[in-house]
Structures are given as structure tokens and as C-alpha cells.
Symmetry: D2
Amino acid sequence: MDKINLMNDYNSTCHPTVLEAIKNVSERRYVGYGADEATAVAVEMIRQMTGLPDAYVQLMPGGTITNLTAISAFLRPHEAVVAPSIGHIYVHETGAIEATGHKVLTIQAKNGKAQAADVLTIADSHTDEHMVKPKLLYISQTTELGTVYTKAELKLLRNICDEFGMYLYIDGARLGYAVSSKNSDLSIKEIASMADAFYIGGTKNGLLFGEALVICNPSLAADFRHIVKQRGALMSKGFLLGMQFQAILLGGLYFELAAQANDAAARLTEGLRNKGIPLLIETESNQVFPVVQKKTLSRLEEQVVFEVWARSTEAGTPIRFVTSWQTTDEDIESALKLF
Amino acid sequence: MDKINLMNDYNSTCHPTVLEAIKNVSERRYVGYGADEATAVAVEMIRQMTGLPDAYVQLMPGGTITNLTAISAFLRPHEAVVAPSIGHIYVHETGAIEATGHKVLTIQAKNGKAQAADVLTIADSHTDEHMVKPKLLYISQTTELGTVYTKAELKLLRNICDEFGMYLYIDGARLGYAVSSKNSDLSIKEIASMADAFYIGGTKNGLLFGEALVICNPSLAADFRHIVKQRGALMSKGFLLGMQFQAILLGGLYFELAAQANDAAARLTEGLRNKGIPLLIETESNQVFPVVQKKTLSRLEEQVVFEVWARSTEAGTPIRFVTSWQTTDEDIESALKLF
Amino acid sequence: MDKINLMNDYNSTCHPTVLEAIKNVSERRYVGYGADEATAVAVEMIRQMTGLPDAYVQLMPGGTITNLTAISAFLRPHEAVVAPSIGHIYVHETGAIEATGHKVLTIQAKNGKAQAADVLTIADSHTDEHMVKPKLLYISQTTELGTVYTKAELKLLRNICDEFGMYLYIDGARLGYAVSSKNSDLSIKEIASMADAFYIGGTKNGLLFGEALVICNPSLAADFRHIVKQRGALMSKGFLLGMQFQAILLGGLYFELAAQANDAAARLTEGLRNKGIPLLIETESNQVFPVVQKKTLSRLEEQVVFEVWARSTEAGTPIRFVTSWQTTDEDIESALKLF
Amino acid sequence: MDKINLMNDYNSTCHPTVLEAIKNVSERRYVGYGADEATAVAVEMIRQMTGLPDAYVQLMPGGTITNLTAISAFLRPHEAVVAPSIGHIYVHETGAIEATGHKVLTIQAKNGKAQAADVLTIADSHTDEHMVKPKLLYISQTTELGTVYTKAELKLLRNICDEFGMYLYIDGARLGYAVSSKNSDLSIKEIASMADAFYIGGTKNGLLFGEALVICNPSLAADFRHIVKQRGALMSKGFLLGMQFQAILLGGLYFELAAQANDAAARLTEGLRNKGIPLLIETESNQVFPVVQKKTLSRLEEQVVFEVWARSTEAGTPIRFVTSWQTTDEDIESALKLF
């Protein structure tokens, strides 16, 4: 029997609707490089969904390349990124931003989130030409710990960015989970209205692959396709991205799948709480971080696929469970039985 | 009625076998980032097929990002690429190589091919530290004009590279068409034995997307996955590449599809010759370059999708037809009727 | 006895006036990084001399680093440089521009000069996002062959640049020789009025080292000091540059020295012509390119220090003589006796 | 009357011996780009002084460009630098290292120094291809706080580097002060024997400008001049560096000047101690960091040029005094009178 898979939200091909959409058009021929109609329709859907009829939308093949392409397009050589110390671009993208020439400055993360006060301090202390110029604040929604910025928090960050002439960039690899989170008071339109650019992650929510980068600030969109091509991110079969986003956005499927995963995570969290298992951090979306004892850990390792999140301490070992649209009630129940 | 599509070889989703392979495993869960079994099997198939049991094989999402990732991994800052003036990396990748810091020096192309004598001259004339050091010869097989290097030509280039301590890198976006070409006396094993690295193009021959980079020279493979990740080319759902390559390579389907396209191009060429239509260059694979008169051009534009290749001259307008596994006998016949 | 040195114009320390200026202030203390008064005065002298009271002037330690700092500050990642094929940045700076991420496209050079028609052709043919965007025209005044752009030629290039939204950048390593050339109808103010940026070379005309970069287009000057520091070009003892430029510009010494060198080159040219020695190119400034026979070459090699410019042909071997403020009448006479 | 200048050690032209050396050869002509005899002699002196007869020595124009040229030459794209959080390259070089594509990871600094345990932790935690690979440890001797690594400390760092295959690079902008420090038990030969590369700073100890980069690890020296040229650091009048280093090293003048400055700092420290003025950190070389009260600060600002080091706290305001070979007994006495 297969183990229960709570490893991550990108461990299978894609939602059946997405594959069906691709199959249905297998006889058709398309213009290359995203100049096709499927892409045009998907882009229009995204503009409406985000309330930004004039936004520049670029469908991209993956998260890291979206981050590096966008950020290197937006910044001049001496301009730097500010990111929370657990930010994906700082920790887990092998220096992709630095490889394009830009320093990433870090600030503390509180519950995974950048704090406005810290952004202010770092912006304020970079005063002369011997230092880089903090120019873009990178945050993730949901954060790398599954937490969700509130409207008040995001507004505060936006204000700080405005004060220092900084861009606000939101890594939305798990944006669907954030918008569908019951802890969230932010609609996708509100997020879009506060960011200079953000992306709507598809790979981690039902697509084969693909992210939709939305450039809200028109001054950042000039010649963007040139830079997409230069970084190797302009798919010759761009229509594959168009088809997939069309299929997943139609009728709100994208948010349904995310909500379903969030629900599974909520049930898992409730079960753990009932059993008195401590959590590293409150569950706000599709990631759950129990802190487990040695024996439980062994039992889990036999029957569940998951990630050990951090080194063991006296309190136990923090592990991570990630749910997705594929997580079943049975998965949750079976997993809970092991505690 | 749809127009006849002879635009390029990447204008539809993929071969049904590929999609079937993805559909068949939609219930399965996979380890991320290419550490899965589907990828392992595909890699092993490629090692056997190329006669390089110890080669480092990396499945990649597209051609431009393969070129830039590989070349920037292989070279030190002052080392440069030598490429024919029509080389894809020189002309059509928006300076992707230069964006990683390396100069691309160009030499004349004869029938689309680099000439050993020109490589020698350029290597020989870069003598001191005021000049970049030519270190990697980039060629395409098939070339951008559909021509195919012969065994003798490739051997000569290999020898020149050895003489100057240069790497030989082969862009194989259309490698299947080259190996299946009736003009070719080079097996894939022979090509593999002469290159330091090359890639087997999938996007232009039946896959949804994907290229298999083969690093033959073990000294070039160190820490390669780090650089793949840094450039944004390490797909989280790497298993999608494994599945696709497994499906297309099984039973030699990859080469069958290419041969079929080459045959269509050969029939098209014969028909054009019979009608006295001149060609810009001899047809050796799946690209055909007729030079057409104004009236013919207008007629073609109404019923065929194709690319105008170059500006008109007195001799007429050079256009490009590209065949693929989807090109039918009827497509060829109908197209020929327009001449 | 020492050989006659006609090797280049940077083969000795500096003009006595410059060293004297440094010596005179050896007791003084200065603010670092160019924020000192000597620099402020030099900058003001340059603004007056160029007729650009609002220009941004940055004193820099050398030519290559001036080129790479300025060009990388001015361009976005996908924007490219257009340069004549003999342009110093293309040939003799070890890919310094490409190392900052930008492609250098080349056009033919006629008498060392970029032709407006070729700039138009290359700008016109880079039409889409698969190609870099030509954004900056790099020329040298004097050219690498010692020739001098005329007012009409420069105006034409300026117009082409305007038509395509390109910047005009002038490498003025030998700008003094150009302005002092009897073949020139361009004052330094006229040059300044047509360029987006240019530099006034000091290293090759009397300074220990130093170039004065003048950014005429104010939109290119934003945060420039940050980028100067990032590239390692912000001298901690910036005042050394200020002192030197002050000393050499005072009373027009800079142009006097250049004129003196041009005169020496003119006398040398006349002598060669009287002896029937052919020149590779007309002498317009301080570089002279005789084409010499084998015997003469041997004789010269014994008594003169100079550079062999190109490979021998049937017509003989092209060599290069460079004069400077240190070249004496006796040097010229003695050299001529060897022909 | 001029203020007492305790601002830094690079606020005047140079030591008279250096200027004299330049003046003495003003009639001579030199080969360019450091291929001259003055440079050859200086290089040989440095090899002997460091006990490394086979070291590759490159004379460079300044500190930042030495750091960025060396580090970018030594590392592959995914390899990163580890530096103390106060490291000059991390804080005060405008992201110069990142601009060459490499991440700089930081560790805590204790008394300005990197701790072996922290290097171990960071090296140990960068385990896979999603993270950069720590490959070079950057430290400064003296540190940015004027402290000096002991033999035991340096040996420990060397061992950790060996364990993780890391290079040890020492920024020696103030190496003279370190070697001449009474707190130091490390000779320059011992430092040289433990580093992979380091530089001997001239700009901050008597030269007009110039640093001598010593590459001890021969595998790091390949084609180094190419990269020096590419970064714009190969001075055409390289002989100026050769002359200066020859003059300052002759008879140990370099170390004499440093010792003299250290003595002045020691006397200043003693005076402050006698007056009960607290120091931010123990004085070990030519930098002194008193923590002063508001009234004293005002008095000092009127009569002394110095740097305010950090924000005021309840304990007072930390300021920095830097001595140099030009600091007189009178400077020290007058400054002390203000406390």
C-alpha cells in the first residue's frame, strides 16, 4: 500500500481538468511564444480577476525563474531586494537573485512575515553610495510557514515602500491558498491593488506547471518580453500555459482546489490539537507544522511521506505536512491515527 | 477550413503517446526536482542510447535555458563562446549568453555550418589578456538552416577544439531530425563521442516541452544541479520531463517521428524541384527553403501558415516550410498545388 | 643609448606640472571619495569647458573601467551596445561589457569610423523580443586608427540615435588629440552637445592616470556614484584625480600637449611621404601607420620602440608610431633617418 | 589653524619617499600593463617578504576592485562567500561581489572577527542544490574594528576551511597595521602560509594608491590577468604601482610607517584610559573607538576631524579616530586635551 503523501503540493501531474483541456486541443495548431489565443484569454481572465484591466500579465514556467526574471528586470545594478530571512529567494533558490547581480538584504521574519518596522530600519540605514539601495520588498503570500498577511499588515508594508520609493513584490507560489484561507481578510483584488507585481502560482495548485506574473505598475512592464526571453523563460509552446490557466481559473476551480486543501489542513490541525500535539506555528493555510516526539516520528516515517522541518530540540522535532486538492479525508484520518 | 500549417515544429501540444503517458500516472505521487524514478529511467535510456554509461544527464524545460545554464556553468568569466553568425544563441536568444557574462564571438557560416578554418583563425588571434579566451565552440545539429554536419566535418571541428583546449557544445534542438536525416552519416553515439556536451531536443519533436542535456565530459558536470536551480531551470515537477522522455524514447518513437517529418520535407522538396522552384539551400532534414515569386507568395499566404525567411531580392522571396510528425501527405500535396 | 620610444602615449609617469601639483599639497588632508575641493574645482572647469553647466562629471581611474561602469549603468539587461568592429570595447577589453551582461553588436568601420547607414541597418533589424535591443552607440574620438569624426559625421550619427532612441557614447581616451587635430572641425563644446555621455582621457595625455566622464543626459546620472563604487572605481583618494585634472586643464595645458603631439605626428607623416613610404591610413592625430618593407622593419626594431599593427602582406608590414607631449624633434628626425 | 585630522588613513597624497620615487624616473619610458621592470622587482620583493617564491602577485589600483576581481575569478556561479556581518565587502562596497553574481552569506562577528564555530555551522547547513555552496571565507586583517586575528584563531579558520574545501581570503587593506601590531603574534609569512589569497594594502599606508594581491594557491591564478583586464583593473601605466611598492617596501618602510601609526594609537588609547574614557573595543592597531559624552563630542567636532561610528546610546556616542604615519605627537596631545 502506498504511504499517505503529505510531502508537498507539487507531487503529482495535475488536476484532471487541466489535462483534459490539453487533450481536447491536441489536433489544433498554435502560434508560438505566447502570442496565441489561449494565452490571450487566460490573460484577460487574470486581468478581470485581479481588477487590473491594464495590468501586464506574463505566463511563466516556474517560480524561481519568475522571481529572478521579474526582479532583475525591475532593478538597476545597485538596487537591492529586502526579504525576510526565511524568504524563498534568500534561502532556497541557490542565489538566483544574486546571480543576476543584486544583493538580497534580510530582515527578521515574525511568524514568517516581514515587519514594517524592520523594513523601515533597513531602508533608513542605507544612506550613501557605499551601500546598496534597498529598492524592492519581497514577501510571500502565503509565507514559507503557511501564514497569511492581513490587510492591515500589507497596507503598512505598502506605506513603508511608498515612503522609501520601494517596489512591493509578492511571491504568490501559494497565493491561491492565501486568498482561500479563512484567516485572510484580503481578496485577490486587494492584494493586486497594493503590489507593484506579484504572481499567481499554478504549479503548487493543480497545474502541470506555470505561474502567472502580474505587473501592476506599468512603469515596470517596458520590454518585459525581451527579458523573459533572455532568461530562458519564454516557452516556445507558450499556449500550454494559456490552456492550463484558462482551465484552472474557469469557474473558480483554482480557488476551490485551494480551499479544499486548506480545509484538509484545518481538519488535520484540529485533530492534532485534540490529541495535544503542539504546533510550531498556527495553521493558516495548507501547511501544518506539528512538533513530534521520537516515537511518533518513527511511526510516521513508516506510513507517511512528509518533511522534517528543523532539527530536533527538547520539545521534539518540527515536521511539515502539506495538503493539496488531492488530500482525502481518509488521508487525514489515517495520519491522525498515528499520533 | 484550417490553413496548412508548415510554420514550425512546435505548434501543437504533443504526440498522443506523451500525453497518454502523463495521463496514466495521474494517480501517482512523485518525489520532486527530478529525483524520481521516471527521470532515473529516462536518464538511463539516454545513457544507453548515446553509448555513454557514465554521462551526466539533466532533463531541462527548454532550449534557451539549456544553452545558458550549460554554457555559464562550463566557462570562467573571461572565457568566450565561438558560434556561427546564424547560431541561435547569437541571433535569437536576446543575448542570453552575454547576460551570464560571456562574449559570443562569431565566425562565418557556410551552409549554416561552422568551418574548422575559421575556428582556427579566431582561436589563433585571441592571444593575450586584452582579449577574451575562446573556450567553447557552439554549433547546432541540424543547423538553423536544416543542414547536417557530416562525420568528417564534426571530426575536424573536434580536432580544432582539442588543439586549442576548447569545448565542443552541440545545440540539438533538432537533433532527432539530424540523426534521422538521409544525408547524415553520424549516429547519435558518434555525435556523443565527439561532443563535450549536447542536448537532445524534445520540444520540437513530439514532447509538450523538454530537452535532455548530456554532459559527456565529466569535468563539466560538477555541482551542475546547483547551477540548474540557480538559473530557474530545476522544475519542481521534474518527473514530467522523465515521463515524457521515457515515452518518446521507448521503441525509438523519437527517431521515427523525426524520420517521418524528414520524409515529408523530402517529398515537398522533390515536388518543388519538379516544378522548377529554386531552393535557398539543399533540404537535408525537416526544413525547406523555397525562393518564391510575388504571385506565389500571395497564394501561399492565403492557404498556408509559414515564415518569410528573408527580405525579397530579384530572385524572389525566401520562405521557410517546416514539417513535423503531424505533417500529412495531404498537407504536402495541397501545398505543392499552390506552386 | 635608449631607443626612440614611439610605442604609445602612456609610457611614462606624467607631465611635470601634474606631479608638481601633487607635491605641492603633500601636507594637506582631504576628504575621501571625491568629495574634496580639488575635485569640485576640476569638475567645474570641465563643465565650463564643455559648455554644460549642469553636466554630471565623474573623475575615474582608467578607460576600461569608465566604459564598463558607464555602459552598465545606462542600460537595462536586454539592451545592447553597437560598436565598430575595431572598437576598443569590442576587441581589447576582454569582454568587459559582456561581463556586465550586455551584448556588443558590431558594424563595419570605415577609416575606423562607424557609418550612419550601418547603425540604421542594425537598429532596424532588431525588431522583436528574441533579439537584444540596440540602445547605445559606442564610438571613439579619435578612433582606434587615429582618425577624427567630422561635425557632419557626428551629427548624422546623433540623428540616427535620436531616431531609434539610442544613446551616443564617446570613448575619449584620446579626445584631446581629436579636439586639437587640424583635421577636426569639432570643438569640445560641439562634441559635448551631441553626446549622451563621453569621457575626456587623461591617462594618454599627461596625467599619471585618470579620465573625466561627462554625463550630458541628466536621466543617465541618477545614483551614478553607487554604481561607480560597486564597480570598484570610486577611489578613496579621489582628490588625486581632482588635483591632476585641475593641473592639466589650467590654461589649456591639456590641449597644448595634444597639439604638440599631433604636430610631431604631422612632421613624421610628412617625412614619410617625402620618402615615399605608404601609410595604412591618413594621419589625423597622434598615430601614424606606415607600411614598411622587411629591411626597414629590421632597422626600426633595432632603434625604435613601436608596435607591429597587423600581419605582413605583399605591400609590407603595417606598424604604428604614437607620439606624445614627450616626443622631441630629434625623435622624429632620428626615426625618419631609418627609412 | 587646521583641525587635527584623525578621520582616516587615506586623507593625503602619499609618503614623500613614494613621490620621490615617481619623480626620479620621470624621464624614463616603461612598458605598459605591468610588464615593466619596476613591477617585476616589486613582485619579487613581495614574494620574498611573504616567503612564497612561487606566489602569483598582481598589483591592483584599489581595495574594492581587488576584492571583486579576485573573488569573482576564484568562484563558480553557485559558490558563495562567507563574511562577518561587519565585513567590508558585505556592508560598504555597494554589493560589488553580488554584482559579479555571488551571494555573500554573513556570520556574526565577535570583536570584529569571524568565529570558526559559525563558519562550521553555515558550511554545514548548506547541504543541497537549492542553496548556494559556501566556498570562500572572507576576513579582514586588521578587522574593520582594528582588531587582529591571532595565530591560533587564524589556524582554526584555516582548518575549518580545509574541512569544507573552502578558500581563505584575507582583505589586507590594513595588513601593515596588523603585522606591526604589538597584539599580533603573526608574521606576514605566517599569514601568507595560511591564506589562499590576500592583499597587502598600500592606499591606507603611504602609497598614492595600490594594493598587492598575493595568490598563494596556484590553482587560483590561472588566466588571472584576463580577469583583471575584464574588470577594468589592469592599469595601462602599471609601472606606477611597481614603483610605489618598490619604494614603500624597501628597507621595511611599509612596516615602519604602520608601527608609527600603531604607536600613536596606543598613546591615544593610554591617554583616554587615564581620563576614564571608555572604549567600544580594545585598541589593537591604528583605530581607536572612544565612547564620548555629548559635551565632549561638541568640543571634538570643533577641533578634530573624525567619524561618528554609531548611533548614540545611553553610554554615549561611539566615535572613531584613525592614526597614520602622518599623525604627530602634537596631534595626540592636542586631541587628548579635549577630553
